[in-house]
């Protein structure tokens, strides 16, 4: 467990992985996980540019009622904050992959993935700007806690947290939940510019999710029962303490004036066909996602328990 130390100059944190001596050789460059190599190749071939591949001029903000436009501006700003976590935290996984001497295609793919996440953040920023201006911070301090961090940087730089645990939690959990959410939004987002943006993001997310499963599947034959149990628990803990507390959508967070406001923003954005989802539409999707993920783990011989949430019941 990393300790948080402070200094008069700037608060700091430990990062034990960084104190490990590098051992670069022998350098294994042959493909060990072909499916991840294929993802790297596919990512290279499916690059896009938020500036050039979305017809921003087709989005006429003046044609949108002010209340909806302002809500959508908020929503897309929030999406940008969420995407930023994959720029400020997840790249440390590349450090972890190389220092743990994992198959090189993992770091190769993650280099592409990091750029994709930056594209997503740029896209969200451009949407918010088009709708009236990007908002750089939540109004409510509490909200910053919900979206501030999923802790990946800390875990990646902690050798005592296995890569399998991190990937199971981050990718097989959080990214899978986000994936079906994006699919739902694409179905309900009528504005062509917003729809295009969501589709391009989703196309990248397909590979991000696949990466996690391919890695876990490659590792399972080499893991001990204890290691598999820790990985299973990491997935469960992240689902319970990150996803189900409102990391991705405010309606999963405990009710408060803040979540009421965020839900209002989501509803207005959704009504305008500019993105977002609403609780009533997303609940069955999320439950189906959990069913799907549970089955996927079951196919690997890993049991995922039922979860409980005040608004979802037991699922």
């Amino acid at each position: 467990m990393n300790a948080i130390l402070s200094s008069p100059a700037a608060p700091t944190a430990t990062a034990p992985l960084l104190d490990r001596t590098e051992r670069r050789f022998p350098l294994a460059m042959d493909t060990a996980i072909p499916k991840i190599r294929e993802l790297y190749v596919a990512a290279t071939r499916n690059q896009w540019d938020p500036e050039r591949d979305i017809d921003w001029n087709a989005l006429d903000p003046d044609a949108i009622p002010d209340e909806q436009r302002e809500a959508a501006r908020n929503w897309w700003s929030r999406r940008g904050w969420g995407e930023y976590g994959a720029i400020s935290e997840s790249p440390t996984l590349s450090v972890r992959f190389t220092q743990d001497r994992l198959p090189v295609e993992m770091a190769l793919f993650f280099a592409l993935r990091t750029n994709e996440e930056a594209r997503h953040a740029e896209t969200c920023y451009r949407m918010a700007e088009r709708l009236g201006g990007y908002i750089p911070a939540p109004i409510h301090a509490d909200f910053t806690k919900a979206i501030g961090s999923h802790g990946v940087r800390k875990m990646a730089l902690d050798p005592d947290t296995s890569v399998e645990c991190i990937i199971a939690a981050l990718v097989c959990g959080l990214e899978e939940y986000a994936f079906d959410w994006f699919k739902l939004m694409i179905d309900t987002t009528g504005n062509p510019v917003a729809n295009r943006a969501l589709k391009l993001i989703l196309r990248d997310e397909v590979r991000h999710c696949a990466f996690g499963w391919h890695f876990i599947e490659s590792r399972l034959p080499h893991m001990t029962p204890d290691e598999i149990e820790r990985m299973r628990q990491a997935f469960i803990d992240t689902t319970v303490h990150v996803e189900l507390t409102g990391y991705r959508v405010p309606w999963m967070a405990p009710d408060s004036p803040m979540t009421d406001e965020e839900n209002r923003i989501d509803a207005l954005t959704r009504a305008a066909g500019l993105g977002a989802s609403i609780e009533s539409e997303e609940k069955p999707v999320f439950i189906a996602t959990m069913r799907r993920v549970r089955q996927r783990f079951a196919d690997l011989g890993i049991e995922v328990p039922l979860f409980t949430h005040a608004k979802l019941g037991t699922f």
């Binding site: 430990t14 034990p16 960084l18 190749v41 500036e51 996984l93 280099a111």
Partner: protein
Amino acid sequence: MTLILQEYRFPLHLEPRVESIWEVYSRAKAERWDPSRSVAWDRLDAGAWPDDAREGARLAWSHRAWLQFGRLSETPSLLVRFCLERQRESDPKYFLSLRGTDEAWHLDVCHRVAERCGGFVAEPGNAAYAARFNQTLHREVLDAALGLDEYVGAYVALREHLEAALLAVARAATTEPVLASALDLMLRDKLRHAQFGWLYLAERRAQLDDAARGAIARRSQDMLERFYASGLMVPGFAPDIAGDVAAAQESAAAAGLGVASFGAQRQALRGVLEDARARFAALDVEAANLRLPG
């Protein structure tokens, strides 16, 4: 024990702020390529080359890959460091996310060339030389005790500037068309990487105090020792432990297979270092004493 900064995410700036760097980033997005498709690998006939030239190219391009591998951890660390610093601009973050893909592709290309020359060589033949590659730059980048701007000065601006010069002289010496095309792509990227470093340093000029400027100069010389005097970048500077790689480069260079001779590399470095001294001087960084080996 290495400590890293703690992140304070908000207010979160995603808007462009440094026009020059945003332009480089935009250009980089437009100049995307694909190692598997942008190079005509089917036309690379290494079997037609003399054995010594082919073996030389095999080891020379493997050496390039050994160096490039370090970027897979360094660049993500640099991106994260920018995010951990309070209120740094968004433009470098966007750019560095792209730089990481460039470097992944460069490594991919180097490996492909080595494989086609008879097989990638997984490690240096000399253990002492191999140990020098363990530079752990990802640690230095993230270390809160070391400044980000000094790292940018030494390891982004100067180091990329020198590496671009090495790629340029290698490209100039390359007559094999497939390898030439690969180097064209790599060089185009590398020139952007160097440009980013100088642009950002210029952007930070007003924030650099005497201590920071002194640190840039010190770390720049340290970088030259670690990466050049050591023979890491140019094996010819360390013939005692990297003589096999140096000889491989000479063989490959003589056959126009993607590498320049030691003499050409040294001359190129001297010229570009002179240019770098001038650039540093314009930023009030005392760099007159920066020295390359030999």
